[in-house]
Symmetry: C2
Subunit: 529 residues, 2 copies
């Protein structure tokens, strides 16, 4: 299970004019750097407040709202977004930032970084015309419902007109964000600063070199039985197991609540209020299990941020790649390890004695790691997962370049699944309609999943250099040293350090070889290759 | 079970300046009445949006938020409330209203009523100093958590300092709202326009005259057995029954969702998005049953409003009294009738075959109507219920008059329970800490429950004049004619008609005798008096 971390884009936040400006004096005067810093603090807090309110509406819509309540919520979101856009694009805010930039030597490191992040947001957003900004928000509010219906009814034609508009907006916005970049590079850069198609093409080529031969060998090897994972597992007991997993992970439930949605995700309001969601399938034991561990990893990152970043532009994880590195670290490197299975298996046996009566630890470990080319990304194993990302990457590249029309997505999607994974896509619900990202406006987001996966094994190596064999702890169900290490090295910084700087400060230069070695070792052993 | 309808006070909404005002020209110019109407519409929509966002945060806090997440939510509410307060108190809005008032002859009836309602809100709110308005919102956000802890720990001292501040604010606000009224009359007027202590004193005296002798006779009569209601009723089946009840009531679940909270309530965002909540006690079958029917009654009122009132100041039910008349109509006049029991009993037998195996319809009907002086308002029967309200009314009157100190509430509360109901209050958790109203800032709200109860039987008489014996329908589980009648007469008007005007347009002049006759007849028959 790999799921989404909903990144509350700083673009959505308001820039709040404190009203110090005199009506008859359009040029802002600052009495002192201290006063300007205070103003900066205030408008970041207001930005936080609007973000919180808007994302709360979104979270409600996804979890508990009645199904046909989009209209009134759309109205509210339209209006709040309009207000925030107006606040955001005020020239006074540019003046405030310019003043602080000119006095950067008098700012502490955190404030300097806040100015930097806010400047980036301001420069990007103030280029988007108000009517486009609002129209896009309204479109996304509708798109969620349309996509859900289209997926349910397996009706791509229903979704296509909405997706066309989303693609058009994104192509236009890319030009606003980074007029000097290729449009898709500009979108990638939104989710992972500095990530380009050039880097990704090389990275994916390297993965393909490792993965394709491994998959071929596995096809010839003795298959792993995982049928018992798909017996009947009542949701009520799965819910108990989710709570158990959160406790095991050391997630403080007074600050983190678990909800249920069609599509699992994590949403952070601040470092004391994080929500994760899962989905219970009664014919699948591990879908909710691994989505809880995955989203729990996102949540630990958010909960571990230092308090000083709350209500500022530096709140929350710094990038999609780093975020996915944390969620997938817990999900795969911890959660799909022999040691973790050893720790949780007694609880599973207790909750599902009948279903698991003929299953032992090793059978369970092997079953949850069985590799098989498949249709659904979020159900893919670690090994084939990057291939799912590559399909989306290729489709998005072409969509944004304008070389693929929306109406032709299904054909291209199905062609790529056949080419990369060797599977036939039977319908669009299990094909190009499976993910919610595009209806949420996220184009250029998927590659961060692959980058995040690749960061993990390199972090593990470093962690083990410093802490020794962490799997001894994991086997005892004790993740405290693992989480403390990640908190110390990664979590506590929130968005203070840039993603590459943060990663390199811990692990040195990124090398995909750690990831390919990890996959090779794990799957060779598993399949006795 | 009688529970709360959370009224989103129009004071919470923003008055939105559309920015037509030129910076160098503080006097607003209106090009035409049509333009002014458009501006009026826009700021009502903005008011709606902020209301929606703020109440969404509140609803989340009550339903699914992690327990220790108050701080960050308080920050957001503080900021949004500050913004709305600033927008609300802008002189331009008074100018807009004045302009429209001066051109009232060119307005349609709905717009005229909108102007009237907005004027009332504006006149009240712009007298509250900004810092008090914001401080009060922050206080209420904290108060909820403090009250919950105080109730859990049976620790009135913990809640007392917060309640003192709430009382002080309310006393001060009463002076802002209606400087010419007695402070408690001003607060009553907030929830039920025109309601005064003079009216209530007479009304309650009349009730007491009927209720006290009835209670005395019941004390001598053969007692009704209701022990079987307190066997073990698993929450999972109670949840199924709640869904069944919502369907039976004709509540459209695509527009209304049921949640779970400590204290049941209804919250409306608009006529297409209403939330109701309940609480499941596994040792009580009827607590959730009647809270669902009660809140369902509130919900039907909100869902039945005509679309034209959405996003205006006329959205939602017009007053607490009318709202309670609807919720208690469904709960008591319908829900606690023999006919309703006949309709739902087979479902109850199906869900709880063991627990109800020796129970028949009539036993069930009698059990749910058993009258007995007790401690907890929301568990009180129809007959003793008004006495619970009278206790709160007496306490509130004295608190606001300044003749009772907060620290002395427990003693006075307990004295009144002994005097009115003849019961000894064992602790504050079951005494003055039982309700959430004061922590929510609602002082002057309780009497509307009694007024609402008294409206019901008079409406029933009218309904039966026009529709004949509605209980024939009810016995078949068919509430469609009942709801259609209420929708036609009451629901669809939202806040377009004033409460008294609305009631009188349907029933003629209010007469408490319908209520006392109803109670006398029902309980005489029930206890064979």
């Amino acid at each position: 299970m790999q799921e989404d971390f909903l990144f509350l884009d700083e673009k959505m936040g308001p820039w709040y004019d404190l009203g110090n400006k005199k009506e008859d004096d359009p040029v802002m005067k600052f009495e002192s750097v201290a006063q300007a810093i205070e103003m900066l603090k205030n408008f970041q807090q207001t930005q936080y407040a609007y973000n919180h309110a808007i994302s709360m509406l979104y979270h409600d819509a996804s979890t508990t709202a009645p199904s046909d309540s989009w209209e009134g919520r759309g109205k509210t979101m339209e209006i709040l977004t309009q207000v925030t856009y107006e606040q955001m694009t005020k020239p006074e805010n540019a003046e405030l930032l310019s003043y602080l930039e000119a006095n950067a030597d008098q700012l502490d490191a955190q404030t300097r970084r806040e100015v930097e992040v806010l400047r980036k947001g301001y420069d990007q957003i103030h280029r988007i015309p108000a009517e486009e900004y609002v129209a896009y928000s309204v479109l996304l509010n509708e798109a969620q419902g349309v996509w859900q219906k289209a997926k349910t009814d397996d009706n791509f034609e229903l979704f296509a007109p909405v997706l066309e508009k989303i693609v058009d907006f994104n192509r236009k916005f890319a030009g606003y964000y980074q007029p000097d970049m290729l449009p898709y590079d500009a979108l990638l850069n939104e989710y992972e600063e500095g990530l380009t198609m050039e880097t990704l093409d090389a990275f994916f080529a390297q993965l393909q070199e490792t993965i394709v031969p491994l998959i071929a060998k596995i096809r010839e090897a003795k298959q792993i039985d995982n049928a018992f994972l798909f017996k009947t597992y009542p949701a009520a007991q799965q819910r108990v197991f989710s709570e158990y997993l959160m406790d095991l992970m050391g997630i403080d439930k007074t600050h983190c609540a678990l909800g249920e949605t069609e599509h699992p995700y994590t949403m952070n309001f601040n470092n004391k209020d994080v929500r994760i969601t899962t989905h219970y399938y009664e014919n699948n034991l591990v879908s909710s299990m691994f989505s809880v561990v995955h989203e729990g990893g996102h949540a630990l990152y958010e909960l571990g941020a230092d308090d000083c970043y709350n209500y500022t532009a530096l709140t929350g994880g710094v990038s999609m790649g780093i975020h996915e590195s944390q969620s997938r670290f817990y999900e795969n490197i911890i959660g799909r390890s022999e040691a973790f299975v050893h720790a949780v298996f007694p609880k599973l046996k207790e909750l599902f004695p009948e279903q698991l009566k003929d299953v032992d630890e090793m059978m369970f470990y092997r079953a949850i790691n069985r590799s098989e080319p498949s249709l659904i990304r979020i159900e893919a194993d670690e090994l084939t997962y990057p291939l799912h990302i590559m399909v989306r990457y290729e489709v998005e590249k072409q969509l944004i370049a304008g070389t693929l029309a929306v109406k032709d997505i299904p054909a291209e999607w199905n062609r790529l699944y056949k080419e990369y994974l060797g599977v036939d896509v039977p319908n669009n619900a299990k094909g190009c309609l499976q993910d919610s990202h595009w209806s949420g406006g996220s184009i250029g987001y998927f590659p961060s999943y692959a980058i995040g996966s690749a960061y993990g094994p390199q972090m593990l190596r470093k962690m083990e250099e410093e802490l020794g064999d962490i799997y001894k702890d994991v086997a005892k169900g004790d993740l405290s040293r693992v989480t403390a290490w990640l908190r110390e090295k990664i979590h506590r910084y929130a968005s203070f350090k840039k993603p590459t700087e943060l990663f390199e400060s811990v692990c040195g230069r990124f090398d995909a070889k750690y990831f390919t070695d990890y996959l090779t070792e794990k799957y060779s052993k598993l399949y006795d290759l």
